[in-house]
Amino acid sequence: MLSLGVVLVAGMAQSQAREGRLLRLDPDARLAPDQRTAALAAGRRVFRAQCAGCHGPDGRGDTGYGAPNLADRDWLYGTGAVGEIEQTIAYGIRSHQPKGWNLADMPAFGAPRPSAKERLDPLSPGDIGDVIAFLSARRGATASAEAVARGRAIYQGRGGCYDCHGGDAAGDPAIGAPNLIDAVWLYGDGSPPSVFRSIAQGRRGVMPGFAGRLSAVQLRQVSLYVKSLSEAP
């Protein structure tokens, strides 16, 4: 009995020491192979239980819901550092948590007042079509030269798109504005009608924060797991 107790306490102490070592490391530090294997296995369990409902069991996301693919190398926020991923998971996105990401929403340009925060005028359906033509030309598709020119003017002018998505339309990971000229879509399939809906109706995806619901070590484990998804060959 005594030995059972000692083993129990020793086991507790050892696993705590292990978790402590993981937490005290810089999030992006290289882990020893067995430490990494254990952390990823635990992270995967957390992911299955907490995240798969929105991001899918394999983390490949759900474009009908606006849950991003976590298994690619494309990040809405930051550059994919484990520390940044951990921050997002802990505090969420538009989660109403004070420390969550909440810097910009996609305005609804097909509504009388596109944005509650920004002063922007609505666009006409033709304007939106022109911007879509401009963006698809930037992706290398063919589009009418006049439409592209009009679209560029709107993108860089009264649409204010450049302000959030960047002058080159490659997105801004500081505010979570997606890249509009790559093949990765947060919403829908990237077809003109689906892009039209994003621009006309606006978007503001919500990701809950998990601080307080997951322990610090679980947060670290699931962050490492998410990072590992994008590193798989």
Binding site: V6, V9, L23, P27, D28, Q87, G110, P112, R197, V206
Partner: protein, 298 residues
Amino acid sequence: MTATAPPAAGVAWLDIRTVHPRRALILMGAGAGLGLVLAGAALFTAKGTTTLVVPADAVAMVNQQPISRIDFDGQLRALAVDPAKATPAMRRQVLNDMIREELYVQRAKELDVGLVDPEVRSAMVKAVEAQAAADAITSKPDSAELRGFYDKHRDKYASEGVMVVRDLVFPPAAAAQARTALAAGAAPEVVATRFGGRDTGKTSGEEFYFAARIHLGEALFTAARALKTGEVSEAIADADGAHLLVMARNTPPAQYDFETARAQVATDYQAAAVARYQGAEDGFLRRRANVLVAKDLK
């Protein structure tokens, strides 16, 4: 009372039926020891106990308040592009700033500055509202709930209608003839010149319904909306003459199916849940509070 002869030592230890004072003492001691070890372990790991240890998920304890490692990391990242490369001086600087902030926040609680500073008060109100809102969106709404929400608010999940319409105004006497010409397919410019009318210029090209409504005004928009592509409205009398609306293309709102609208439905559903939770928080605070209102304001 008959005394039993002491049995052989080894057997006596294990034989539960015989009393063995030394065994009793040792087991009791072991039990107490184990209890102490467990209690000690709990003491040093439980939340809210005074400890001299900084837990692994914190970078410092300020009067037993942890400064979270994730937050430290976030602050560091705001300063250095790659926190792994942050210098020890940077780390110290960030940590010192965070400790200082915590000390001041704790002092503010002691002084109850929130009671007097309007900015702090409003920040506190916002923080409690945000807390209630965050509680509302901790998980994915299940698909049946989303579908129910979609069914209840179907009209929200439709494309905005689009029209290409021209608003021409004529002297009232010429309106009937102008209408006949337009309905026969004559170009609006030609008809306008021939019957002394003009394009009011209120609309231009493709417009969303909401924009056309603003540009045309309620009465003309209502008439325009009812026109099919290619139709011309009846003459509509107004202060400046008789208006004829020529509808080049009218695409009424089209319902989105649930799959197409799902992301939008989820956003709206969450917003509604947030409002509900905040309302509940309001009600809860009021119910448990004892609020007395002066007679003259009742």
